[in-house]
Amino acid sequence: MFVAAMIGVLITMLLALVRAVLGPTVYDRILAVNMFGTKTVLLIAVLGFLTGRPEFLDLALVYVLINFIGTIAILKFVHYGDMSHSGQETS
């Protein structure tokens, strides 16, 4: 059953990855990165149970924190940095 959950998470990661690669706007990418981070948290949690040592959940916890900070940082610089006022990428 952990295998099924794992496959579900992996598929989601792949789909989010494709969206992050395709764009087309900066915000799509940020959304995809944020979602990818959440899926990584789930992956680590499930992986612990799959390998039989679930006590390393501190890792998943740190991913939640860092993922949030990363998203806010990208947003801050995209939106309030000195360039790139619109969401449309020029190239």
């Binding site: 390998t51 040592r53 006590e55 390393f56």
Partner: protein, 119 residues
């Protein structure tokens, strides 16, 4: 076939290293070069950690009922290397900022053009 999966991790590490290498030597943008250098660096981390893995082993932290552990030595080396890596990358980025302030560009070909004019 077992050869393929047995060496798959190393090959991916080499692939990443070459992608990073290409970005460093072929791209003109200094930030892109540093990103390439980062990829190159993480590929080395991946190689080390892959070599430390033992089939059926577990994370090298003593726990009840666990007897087989992966090799902790590469973990120690890479753990410190990651933090040192980001510190040295930041020095590179600081240099990029200074180059931008001095020359107004961070594209390699434009930098070379400016340099040749002044000479």
């Amino acid at each position: 076939m077992s050869d393929f999966w047995g060496l798959y991790n190393y090959w991916i590490a080499i692939f990443l290293m070459m992608v990073g290498f290409y970005n460093v030597i072929a791209r003109g943008n200094l930030i892109k070069k540093l990103i390439g250098l980062n990829i190159f660096q993480t590929s080395v981390f991946l190689l080390y950690i892959s070599m430390g893995k033992v089939e059926g082993g577990s994370a090298p932290i003593v726990g009840a009922g666990i007897s087989s552990f992966s090799n902790p030595l590469p973990h120690v080396l890479i753990l410190t290397a990651i933090v040192v890596g980001v510190a040295t990358t930041s020095v590179g980025l600081a240099l990029v900022v200074r180059i931008k302030e001095a020359y107004g560009t961070i594209e390699e070909d434009e930098l070379i053009a400016q340099e040749s004019v002044t000479q």
